[in-house]
């Protein structure tokens, strides 16, 4: 998995690409730290280019959400598709994190 950050007026958009699995845990931790420190209150993870997420990836997304709350920010998961969208739906992540199509 790799990512690119785009800073906008009200929000920071992080576009994740490839596969988000356990092997990315160090990289994602660094990203979470980055997101907690930038100034935008609204942190958006754009999942449109993410092809796959495993259960560890889901756990990491929930940790990201918790860290954002601790930093007084909000997390949004946007435009998930394919397997990622199916897993998010089945796991009812929408009950915990804001999901936008």
């Amino acid at each position: 998995m790799d990512y690119g950050v785009e800073q906008r007026d009200q929000e920071a958009v992080v576009r994740l690409r490839g596969r988000l699995t356990f092997n990315d845990h160090a990289k994602l931790r660094a990203l979470i730290g980055e997101m907690a420190q930038n100034k935008a209150k609204r942190q958006v993870l754009d999942l449109s280019s993410l092809e796959f997420v495993d259960s560890a990836g889901i756990g990491m997304l929930l940790i990201a959400r918790e860290e954002m709350v601790n930093a007084g920010k909000s997390l949004v998961l946007r435009t998930a598709a394919g397997q990622v969208k199916r897993v998010l739906t089945v796991a009812q992540i929408g009950k915990i994190v804001t999901i936008e199509d």
Partner: protein, 372 residues
């Protein structure tokens, strides 16, 4: 020759003689006698055929009614069985308790939702632990380094104490007290070194334990449970399909039960409808009675006329009429019975060449015997 009644009227258009007698030709009398003979026998045959027909219809109707009754009972049984199935189709038995299918499906879907939710929670906790142990490993590395620092300081202290001891011995008596202090410092340094060793041993054990735990945890967190989560989709679809199919079966079975019930009721109507046979039988009996009276009347008249005419006048067979009559009997079995009756008890058929045929028609079936 004397006549009265209807015959007199038709044969005597001029009203007859003063003594009530009219002249009739011998040929006409012969013809009448021939007709009367054949007609009487024909009436007998017709009565026999009517009785036979009535019996056939009665037997067939009774047999049919019986079979229809059995059919109605079976249709009713089937309807009851299907209704039992309908009652059972919408539920399943679990630990001896009937649970409606839709309730069961909702229960199972809830169970799987809980399972998925637990997987999510576990994954989240596992990742938190992984991050925590990442930090602990880093801290333990710092600790190892700190113990190394203590060792360095201790070596320095030990070295200083050794120098102090040497300097104290050079100072002689004046340095004796200082030598004791230097010696104590060396002891202290040794104790510190031993403590650092013990700490290193313990820290090494902790590091080993943390690394093992970290490895195990990584393995746990690295076990992808997303396929199990997605299995919920399949289970949901299967359950929905199961409910839909069950409901379809129920609807089909309900229709089948209704049809069976309708069949039973229709058959009951059919059985009622078969009572026409009773009426038919009564009518045929009435007709037969009328025919018997007609036959008796004819016989009596024939006897009376025979008594009044000279013996020389015989009966003339009504050949053309007879042929016409026989043409009506197309059913060979019935035709045979008719021929037998006229042949055995009269002479009417001698001229029709049925004697030869009768010789070959010994049995009652006669289905393939060609008469005339």
């Amino acid at each position: 020759m004397a006549f009265d009644g209807a015959t007199q009227k038709t044969d005597t258009p001029n009203g007859g003689g003063p003594d009530g007698k009219v002249a009739v030709t011998t040929e006409l009398l012969s013809t009448w006698l021939g007709f009367a003979d054949v007609q009487r026998r024909t009436l007998d045959v017709v009565q026999g055929e009517l009785t036979r027909t009535s019996t056939t219809v009665e037997n067939a109707t009774l047999d049919l009614s019986d079979r229809f009754r059995q059919l109605a009972e079976k249709a009713l049984e089937q309807s009851e069985r299907v209704e039992q199935i309908v009652q059972l189709a919408g539920s399943v038995s679990i630990d001896g308790e009937r649970v409606p299918m839709d309730q069961l499906v909702v229960g199972m879907q809830d169970m799987i939702t809980d399972m998925v939710s637990n997987i999510v929670t576990l994954s989240r906790h596992a990742m938190s632990m992984v991050y925590l142990l990442d930090d602990v490993q880093k801290d333990v590395g710092d600790l190892e380094k700190a113990i190394g620092d203590i060792d360095a300081i201790n070596r320095q202290t030990n070295f200083l104490a050794l120098n102090a001891t040497i300097e104290a011995s050079r100072a002689g008596e004046a340095g004796r007290t200082f030598a004791v202090v230097a010696q104590e410092v060396r002891h202290l340094s040794r104790s510190t070194g031993e403590l650092a060793d013990r700490m290193r041993n313990k820290v090494t054990a902790v590091v080993k334990g943390v690394r093992n735990g970290h490895d195990i945890l990584r393995q746990i967190a690295n076990t992808d449970m997303s396929p199990q989560m997605l299995a919920k989709e399949r289970v949901d679809k299967t359950m929905d399909s199961l409910v839909e199919q069950t409901s379809h079966f129920q609807s089909v079975l309900e229709t089948a039960a209704g049809v069976s019930s309708d069949m039973s009721s229709t058959i009951a109507h059919v059985i009622t409808g078969m009572q026409f046979q009773d009426l038919t039988k009564q009518r045929i009996e009435a007709i037969n009675d009328s025919l018997a009276i007609m036959g008796a009347g004819l016989a009596e008249l024939e006897t009376r006329i025979r008594a009044q005419i000279p013996p020389g006048i015989g009966a003339q067979e009504p050949q053309e009429w007879l042929n016409h009559l026989l043409d009506r009997f197309t059913l060979s079995e019935m035709r045979e019975r008719f021929v037998r009756r006229l042949l055995l008890e009269g002479t009417a058929l001698d001229e029709n060449g049925v004697l030869d045929v009768d010789a070959g028609a010994g049995d009652s079936s006669g289905g393939d015997i060609e008469l005339f």
